[in-house]
Symmetry: D2
């Protein structure tokens, strides 16, 4: 009966003045007569001074924040935080944590804070780590997690639980959850992982099990929609500066020096864009969202020639997913798939380096010195910075409060700065992307002075893509956090 | 008629459902018949692709974001960003930039981006740097600022313009502005500096001069209200980790080792709180907002004894303004004032270290090893990290767009993630403080397990301080960014 | 009968052409008929390829390296390294490790490498850690050390064994050694600690015990004579740059900005000197070896006035032991002693800051902005860098090879790049100091352009202090590693 | 008449007890009646206090330091340092500086210190920078270098002069030297560059020109013989830790995780070896000096299988020149040459990653997760650390003192810690290599527990390669700095 992920019908509530609440599932949606308990935080000395112990059940967070005097209010999400009543007794809770997908700074911090939060805030002490991603539910031993075990893991990169990509068997996972008597499942992972969590939730619901499933969205690329940004992103942009700086030094030190830096970003160029804006040493930034071409007028190669003539050197930042159509066209080898089902993207950094060298070797007399830097794994493996550490703490606590309060099938994250519970399908439908018709991208183009690679026709269409501007007056804005 | 700062009458606009707009002044408020010009951004190739060149004049940013279904809408601010019409021709603009107060990571980035933004976005090329803070307007030579001069200053800490604290003569400053023919004044500084900017704006208004005054709020302590956070704060918290980590290592390596770290925060303990939350190596965090006492039951010294008995070592983080009443009481020397008029705070770190040593020397047989670390200047002097770099860019651009659009007497900053123009008086009235009846502080107490130093009476009052909880249902929340 | 440390008569061997060997004691010096065993390294697959398994018993390391064609050869030390025959069976060895004194980057690496070296090279698996310095021998529980326990401690600062300063009871220590059946004692510590180790060795010898005592000299100040440099020194100089850089930024950003940085160095100014040379942002470097004065012509205050007039800002680096006579003279409070018996030095950094502020407040109209930075504990607590890590490994291995070969009462360290065994008394007699009549100090003076604070008479005496230059032709040079 | 580089006949002086001095050329070797001048350092206030202004003309530095009681004394080099008499008047000196080859941390520091040293010590103010390596002598404009221009370049990576690899025309260079009236040539570069400098020196000598040529050896690989180590090496090893650490985190976080890190080292594996020893997270280190094989018993692939079975993950460090025979054998494409004449080495890191993946895909059921990291340019481009900064200063000063004293055709560097002048041919004859029959390499094998890839025959030969051990008793040791 239930099919693919995201099929759960949405819980939508409407209010005055165009107010819409996209709510998340709750255990009581499918289990009758669940007992509630007073939230143990009330007994916690650290929380004694808190003015309001608990989030008001009516609190919701507005997704639209730039509004007009008399415009509609738009979409809202349920505010995250502790509730007056919880649906689990502390002793009853048996939690598990699983991390999936590529490494991202902050994974260990999230693990640590789920363990410490459950223990210190709710008195929960049965917490399992699933080893090696989803498959670990049925193919590996579990790891017992205690505050002592996780004490200083936030100072290390990676994930102490291990991770894996790719296929898994939902039935076996749910069997394992049932067999272990697990009542709370914390899933840390990206788009595909959250889709998997949605399916696990649906199967648990189908079986009528009192198990809360909470997702913590993880993507170093920052391509999760709705939430303000994903954890580890800040740390990644910071670390990316090192590679850009090295490329800049190498380029400056040789005649016609070209530094090429490949950064993460399969489908969205946030890391490349922010690293470029933060660094200011970049002459050209290529991202998946903005197509580019090499040859001819307005093409990349002409721009390189021009910039070398002017400055004698240049730095190019390219997101790993940029120009995939060009790469595949020129390589014609798009069949391979990596284990997660993502296209096994050809390395655009090596490809573009080859194309540039080739161009100057064949068509130009100019000798160039191209240095290619791929800092991907050096970025993914570092520990999270202070800002991400605090952020990971809040994500973990939000997830815990939600699960204890009986919510399930939800993911957590800040919406305009306030943490909220968001239905899975809202963050897995379409990835967050750099909006190239947004001022932030224009700001980048202005700072690098690179070509836009767009024809007049492109520009016309870009502007029109979400309909005529007049419709925008109702307050429906593309997400432009800049101003 | 103009009096002290903040006296300008507020421009308040009301709308449906409790909507309130706290608007900022505009040159047309006191100058009639000002000519407007098309915004030159329309001609800028980097901005060609932008769907909407300009911020809609009706866009406002909501201060309240956690709302109820049918609750009132509350306060809003004018959205920052470029406008269709500008009130200055590019050639006509003569801008100046001044930095005041203590060092803060990101000062040079803001300077750089005002210069580059004016030049690249609006074609402005007459930009002066004022040397050494407000007094530099009349006591020093100016510095010519060009994109080339500021090219890589964002990689250096400090401010290339120099800075100073303390008194200045508003009349002389405005004379100097008039004499130099300056038409845009960019003021980067803290609370006192923004108050000064408000007075300068009022005097310019009194003289009827077409000069826009834009403030960029700077405070490493993050004690500016309304805006989400101040620039340099992230960088400061990150760097503070080093000191905490060192204190932790020192404490762990000796018997009854106590590491004491003093961090910035005269009136608000944000740096201390966030550094403690990010680090997790801290046993006790003392901030100005939360009074503490040394002696007796529930006091700090008993807690230290207890923690040393349990763990053999401990780390204390103390914000510079914590326990000032205790310090002054015991030192009785509160007459001194530093040049800015702030009380010359006694060094609480040295004071508390002395008190602890004294206690264990006199009343205990325990030999302790106390190490005191004051990383203040090492934190203030570092360059801003990537995240702050991008943030500084947005602040600078917001300020420029506002001034070009004829707004004046305003400061800029993000409100719930969206940049807005805010009247001076709103950010200088009362400092932003850590709310100790807020979940974030409870989270800290929970993570350190330190005493709250509050009596039952305190707790009762803390909870009641903003009136009975029922009033809170209308959506008026204290700022709790956590959840 | 045995008296103070260093009383053991020296083992001196003479050879041709002025060759002198200052040898170290051996267990066979006082125990007859000790059995020897083949070195187990011969069975170690990793060492199979080594051309010469073992150091030739006749290998010695020359202390004099700058020599004349027909000059005398001078002092030599026994070369460190594995010997053909060892005096302990692997099973018989019961080793212990103790760390004493202040923290120094690399302590954990030395501990790790003694444990892993004993285990992997010699098959030793009974290794105890003594908790909290010398006193731990009789007042604390011991810690069992295995390769697993020490696996990644080299990535952490501090010492996992804890440390303490000050007095201890040699008899109790030797009793404890005897009671635990310990046969090898590894002592990591500074001057005082090595003296203590000498006394322990003498007592063990008096009791006729087959226990080898090996010292690993530790002093962040680099004031150990004979050896090339002490571990952690490189790391400390590197880290000191941060503080100097911060002082420089602070000084540059304010009018008449003065940055004062206090660095480690009670009796020798190596850290201050090398940090100054490496940084090049320093205007004046004050060290214990070079007296200075504040007032009058050629004094520090006049120099500051001059430099502020020229540049508008300046950076002063002061070693903690600089100007102690001046400090004590002005404070008259030299009675206090810290636990180790060192004079409790007054904080020269605070003292000099006060004096400078006072001078400009009283005698000058100039307003100065002085910022004082004391990075001491932040430097001491960091992990060792790569270069120190490798160096610590070699020290540990040298000590192990020596103890296994039956040497005792010795310390280890590189002499002109080659590791050697050195009698305790040679490194505890007189501290290593910066030679201010050496080209390295002249190089510093030349780079800072600071006054030498010396009268003509001083200069004359400095040059003459080791006799007339003609005597130097015999090859006896002060240690000038520069050229 | 003059032929290839290194043909200059050696200046060899013999003394007592087997003493040999390998001297460097002097301008007076081929120019008669050169006038001398008193060294201006005598007038320099910073040097007033120096006991001995000048290095004694008879000072020589011993290459052999591990000696026997009555063994021969061996090779010596002329000690570096200032001389009583100089052969250039300050006004007469017209110096030039050129940097060649790949980037290396410290290049800018050497440039800075030559400029500042010439200016401050000898009053020289005519200093040219040659742009872009040797070819810049005749194909580019020169750059005027002053202390102000180079003031803070040591804080930046790269070389402000630019660099290039490969062919150049000696005649044109010497013409240019003659045309510009240059009298001192400072050449910073590696093996090939120093050979080029030798030929330039010979041509200058042939033309009878009073021009001193001083080389400063630069090679990030540390493959220069005779000298203790090359500048930038320490910094490079430090930075390499980052990549190894990232590889370790990535490997640990996935099932059968393999991290492969390629480090610099075309012909010698010092960076790989020291980074491995410093890090201790490496399971296998492959260097050019130690051949390895993939397949079969004792091969790399079997070792990987074994280590994955034991630990579940592993880290491999491979020097870029390791296994070149294997690579070329399997790729059969050895014809390419890069511009400098070095073989364009195939990327062994990519090759070995491919081979490992292939092996496990084809022959094993094990799914592995291999991550390849190439930090080469990120290492080359960083600024030098404090230790290298001081070292670069000494190199620059040694070169200056030598040139001023009339020496030419020499290179500089520390020999057993003392700076010396070394004839070009001694450092270009044979590269410095990791001696795999040395204890340092055994130490590495012992720490990684990797196979030695040697047959019994190899081991026998390795041990015998420099003849039977008995001959070693004469004091002729391979360079083993370890003990």
């Amino acid at each position: 009966m239930m099919g693919s992920s995201g099929n759960t019908e949405s819980k939508v509530v409407k209010g005055d003045a165009g107010y819409v609440l996209e709510d998340v599932p709750h255990l009581t949606d499918y289990i009758a007569d669940l007992q509630t308990y007073p939230n143990p935080l009330q007994m916690n000395p650290a929380y004694l001074v808190v003015k309001q112990y608990f989030v008001n059940e009516d609190d919701t967070v507005a997704q639209k924040i730039v509004v007009h005097k008399n415009g509609p209010r738009g979409t809202h999400f349920r505010r995250a935080g502790p509730r007056q009543k919880v649906y689990f007794e502390s002793d009853e809770v048996h939690a598990c944590i699983v991390t999936c997908g590529g490494l991202c700074p902050g994974l260990n911090t999230v693990i640590r804070e789920i363990v410490c939060g459950l223990y210190h805030m709710y008195g929960v002490n049965k917490i399992l780590g699933i080893d090696g991603g989803y498959r670990g539910f049925y193919s590996k031993n579990t790891v017992t997690l205690t505050p002592k075990v996780v004490y200083d893991i936030h100072k290390r990169g990676g994930t102490i639980l291990g991770t894996s990509r790719g296929g898994h068997d939902t039935s076996k996972i749910v069997d394992s959850i049932q067999d272990h008597g697990i009542s709370q499942v914390y899933v840390i992972g990206g788009d595909g992982t959250q889709k998997g969590a949605a399916v696990i939730y649906e199967e648990l619901r189908r079986r009528g099990l009192k198990v809360a499933v909470a997702g913590i969205p993880k993507t170093i690329d920052n391509d999760i929609p709705v939430i303000d940004k994903s954890f580890g992103f800040d740390t990644a942009v910071e670390e990316a500066q090192r590679a850009i700086n090295a490329a800049h030094v190498e380029a400056e030190s040789s005649e016609n020096g070209i530094g090429v830096v490949k950064l993460m970003g399969r489908y969205s160029g946030f890391i490349a864009m922010y690293a470029t804006l933060a660094s200011r040493d970049v002459d050209c930034c290529l991202i998946p969202e903005s197509p580019f071409y090499l040859e001819g007028k307005g093409g990349l190669l002409k721009f390189i020639e021009k910039r070398l003539k002017e400055n004698g050197h240049m730095v190019i930042v390219v997101a790993e997913g940029a120009g995939q159509d060009r790469v595949s066209e020129s390589l014609q080898s798009m069949d391979d798939q990596d284990a997660s089902g993502n296209k096994l993207l050809q390395d655009v950094g090596l490809w573009i380096s080859h194309k540039i060298k080739d161009h100057f070797a064949k068509h130009q007399k100019t000798v160039i010195n191209l240095k290619y830097i791929d800092p991907t794994y050096m970025i993914r493996a570092i520990p999270s910075n202070a800002s991400d550490n605090v952020y990971c703490t809040l994500l973990a606590h939000s997830a815990i409060h939600g699960a204890m309060a009986g919510y399930t099938g939800f993911t957590v994250g800040p919406v305009n700065g306030r943490h909220a519970y968001i239905p899975f399908h809202r963050i897995t439908e379409t990835p967050n992307k750099v909006v190239i018709s947004d001022r932030m991208w224009a700001r980048l183009l202005s700072s690098t002075n690179q070509p836009s690679f767009l024809s007049s026709k492109d520009i016309y269409e870009a502007k029109d893509e979400e309909g005529p501007p007049t419709q925008l007056l109702d307050g429906e804005y593309c997400k432009d956090t800049s101003q």
